[in-house]
Symmetry: C2
Subunit: 218 residues, 2 copies
């Protein structure tokens, strides 16, 4: 005999979306842009932010909300680059939800910032399903993952406002077909702005940074 457990969720996504709306209001009050960086574990999200920190000259003041299931490793890496960073620990959950992001955002020195980058939990699937109040999702895919991934995980590429193909410095050592990867992204999202870059060598990062300055805070 097993006891029956009954869980009742009342309008689950509605609650998330309400917090996302609160976040959009808060961002608008401060004229801030927020982007939501989503990709697999180890695709180079943190490395890209480290590289951006090295390149910035005070003209784009950004803070990072760093999402992880466990550990504060990534926040420590970014703090070493003098980035304003808070660590959001989901303690098991595979994605960030709007409420946690909202509370963390409220504690940032918003008046001193231009851009908030949320680095979501390493996962190409679930984070794409949750609105956290961002102005734009950015899909990041490393060349070591294979050119077919946009077709296998289409939701993120459909939802995204830009895509980054990372770790291009490793291309000489792989059979990865960059043209096929770009074509696959285009099959999901025809007009998606697309950046091929290496955070290790720095190649292509300037173009991405230039685009990041233009994300509208609608």
């Amino acid at each position: 005999m097993t006891r029956k457990k009954i869980k009742i969720y009342q309008d689950l996504m509605g609650e998330n979306n309400r917090w996302a709306g609160e976040t959009r209001k808060l961002l608008a009050e401060h004229g801030l842009v927020m982007v939501n960086l989503i990709g697999s574990p180890g695709c180079g999200k943190t490395a890209l932010l480290e590289r951006l920190a090295d390149m910035l000259d005070g003209t784009l003041r950004f803070a990072v909300l760093e999402g992880d299931i466990e550990t504060v490793n990534d926040a420590r890496r970014l703090a070493r680059k003098n980035i304003v960073v808070s660590q959001l620990l989901t303690k098991g959950s595979c994605h960030l939800e709007a409420k946690m992001v909202h509370y963390a955002l409220r504690d940032l020195p918003l008046a001193e910032l231009d851009l908030i980058v949320v680095e979501n939990v390493g996962n190409l699937v679930c984070p794409a399903e949750f609105d956290i109040g961002e102005h734009c999702k950015i899909a990041i895919l490393s060349v070591t993952e294979g050119e077919d991934k946009p077709l296998k995980y289409p939701l993120l590429f459909r939802e995204a406002g830009a895509a980054v193909v990372s770790k291009t410095d490793l291309l000489p050592h792989l059979t990865f077909n960059l043209d096929a990867c770009v074509a696959n992204i285009r099959r999901i999202n025809t007009a998606l702005p697309l950046f091929q870059l290496s955070s290790t060598s720095g190649t292509g990062v300037t173009a991405f940074l230039d685009w990041l300055r233009t994300v509208p805070s609608r």
Copy 2:
């Protein structure tokens, strides 16, 4: 005014676990072993199965249940290697559940097989939470993902019966610290059998295959 939606889940995991139990019974009836291969998108799950197919000589007859959100690319890759394979499309879901696995399993030629390998959806998080009736979960992590991942995604490494560190042929081109990665896995799961291998070069795959022959069908 938004309408309230109320969803009621009655003992959600209980339903999944009931199907997992049915699968275990079916496997036992046929003296079969089933393993559940879990790792990030592009960590080399399919490549490892392709390499195993090349090495096998009929002494370990295996079939693959290939889990993906979309596309039948991976099933096609394995079919080209003459592996018995079925494609399980989750159509959005980030993990395989026991019921779908059970139905696919029942349609395989079980009397002609020794081993079932389930290749789960590319995701280091959610698949580890779902019992699909397997005898053993196998965690796979590629060296391009970074040595800290076992600490950041501990559940899988805690639940696993073995871990594979893949793509070791790329080590000369990376700053990946293999010793640190192994130490991090050991911090989560002290006695976990651990295999370092390259499906591209073949290095280390024999040791993994030898272990695969010994997984008990408790």
